[in-house]
């Protein structure tokens, strides 16, 4: 008993009191800002391993970006990554950053379904499905609920069965071998339900985009409620994404 108390005492205070304002240490590649400086656009576009950069005007799609930082490294005056980790949105287009723009990524509460805030703002149970995920987003989802990030303080939890859940959170590019199980899990959730894509692989297929091994047609008739970028998504991105999406007025 005494030993246990000693160990608990030695941990000190671990939890992050305010996960909406916490600073991330060291280098962090969050929301990018693209300046209006003139550069060789094609060269810049060509650097990106993920085809996340498009030109005329220059845009960076965080739904395709793996945040490797290569573009900023080679064009430091053109692209800069801020430490802003609140980069999730319920609209796919909002993940695209254009040159000359510098504004936070936000939810569009107008396009969010009416019932979401009233039903899920105090309690949200999600079923996670990895569909070809590489176990990095899965890792960060688990980390979101450790004693430091403590996602469950918001009443948000990951549950064992789709029948107990309010929605699905997908990681991974949705490959052929998991497309059917994903669909079955989704169909098993009672209405109204959410569908969330977490990580670059889930949002766009990531580095596997356009690969014949993906089977993303399962998304065709599912309404996607939330996009959480990153590779993997940082716990603070995940937590703020889920909280803003369900609570923002």
């Amino acid at each position: 008993m005494f030993n246990n108390l000693k160990i608990i005492y030695h941990q000190g205070k671990q939890f992050i009191p305010d996960v909406t304002t916490a600073q991330v240490p060291g280098i962090f590649r969050g929301r990018p800002i693209i300046s209006t400086e003139k550069v060789d656009e094609n060269e810049l576009k060509d650097i990106c391993p993920m085809d996340a950069i498009s030109i005329n005007p220059i845009r960076l799609d965080m739904g395709r970006c793996t945040f490797c930082g290569e573009c900023a490294r080679q064009f430091p005056r053109k692209i800069r990554f801020t430490k802003e980790y609140k980069i999730s949105s319920n609209e796919r287009e909002r993940l695209v950053v254009q040159e000359g723009e510098d504004k936070p990524i936000e939810m569009n509460t107008q396009s969010r379904r009416k019932e979401i805030r009233s039903l899920f703002s105090q309690s949200l149970k999600l079923r996670q499905v990895s569909a070809g995920g590489d176990n990095s987003c899965e890792w960060e989802l688990s980390a979101s609920n450790n004693v430091q990030f403590d996602l469950s303080r918001f009443g948000i939890e990951f549950v064992a069965s789709p029948r107990h859940s309010d929605g699905i959170l997908v990681t991974g590019p949705i490959n052929e071998n998991m497309a059917k199980p994903l669909r079955i899990a989704y169909d098993a959730i009672p209405e109204p339900k959410l569908f969330i894509l977490c990580g670059v692989d889930a949002i766009s297929g990531g580095i596997f985009a356009n690969s014949e091994v993906l089977e993303r047609s399962v998304l065709n008739d599912i309404k996607i409620d939330l996009y959480i970028p990153g590779n993997p998504s940082h716990p603070l991105t995940i937590i703020n994404g889920l909280v803003d999406f369900t609570r923002k007025k």
Partner: protein, 499 residues
Amino acid sequence: MNYVTIINNQSISLNDIPEIQYFEFFELNLGLVQDAVQRHCVNYFGFPFDKRVKLFCCIADDSTHQIYVSSTIVTAQESLLSFSAKNFGFEKFEREIHENYGLKYKDHPWLKPVRYPKNRFDQSKTMANYPFFSIDSEELHEVAVGPIHAGIIEPGHFRFICNGEQILHLEIQLGYQHRGIEQQFLNKQKLLQRATLAESIAGDTVVGHTTAFSHIWESLVDFNLTRDIAYSRTIALELERIAIHTGDLSAVCTDIAYQLGSSVFGRLRTPIVNFMQEWGGNRLSKGLIRPERNQFPFTPELAARLTEILNIYEPDFLEMNEQMFNLPSVLSRFERTGVVSHEDVLSIGTVGMAARMSGLKRDIRQSHPYLLYSEIDHKPIVKNHGDVYSRVQIRKEEVKQSMKYIRTMLNNIPHINENSIDLKTPKPNSFAISLVEGWRGEICHCAITDEKGKLSHYKIKDPSFHNWLALAIAVRNNEISDFPICNKSFNLSYAGHDL
């Protein structure tokens, strides 16, 4: 000579690999591993060309630090003698070859699907009709779990045959995570795309797999690894080991409902992964390792920061271990649970922790050293009981060992070479192999280039490829309620296996 001898991270001309008749190939490779604990097969794969299949077999010798490579050409029409009938260590490789290219085996004991790849030979085989082993009996029942599991975890299907609460047999069906990643290595032409792919093989072993890919590439373009790059990679590999081992200790505590251990180890992982972010901008080290480059040089400031972090981490880590390993309720769940005997690990041919848990000393850091490991003079941690306890102990001791290695390295930070990127194309008609000891165990990548120096084949082997079978054996005769802790104590990769 009917084989060629190379060392880790060496590339050779394809013509230097002797091409022999299948029967000679069969006798040669079986002979090499017969009664030789120090030798095992690190990779055995097929390379399709011209309606035929060229098989490459790579046997590593831990005592001479060499790798013996041989090859043969076969067709799908022949019916071949299987290696597996004589040596079970080859069973998975032969199943994979059969699944990919349709090669037939006369006497393979268990020719089951491996991962249902997109371009599999027999498209009539589907995930839904996997041929599970079954036993007919009124007393027995089957328990099917997955592909989607209860927690935040990757998918796989487990089929248990139980007698009451006791597991008689477990069969694991994998493939749900298949993303065609080997094919993508050929499709993507940019080096940065391939490095990004390597990071996605198994997102919990980013440093391990990306290092293996980088070494393959650097060997193919004759890049001389500078000391600062080797240094950064060695530190990153050991930090990855510390981070995941710590997380695994938390996970086993969770599975035995030991809340204190679960929380403390869980939070202890954070400073280590946060350091990875301070260093390279990503908690799982994505973006950190790049071929031919020191993307994020390890500076004296980072060294000071890491020393500070380890100094705080260590006493808390040791204190928690001390408490945990003295708690009877914890020990009763760890000891003699999920045992795999020495004979079994030898026969399966497990690698990494899944070998060292049961007296089989396999550790690439010692047997085929790369980076700075020959200077470190690494001594693998070996246990003998093959149970959950051994696997957990290995983690505790390896974390301590890695901290020691890192601290020694921190005393001697190399000067950073300015990057001069002159990207060369790989040598034509070549074969390259790279072995890295990731935190799970032996990672092996092989590459083949064509006459223009383009990649024409890329083969990845994650340690989980061998080790899943050890998990299935481990749970036999255990209570089904002990399955989670057995599983966590192995912590194998689905993505790394399914590719």
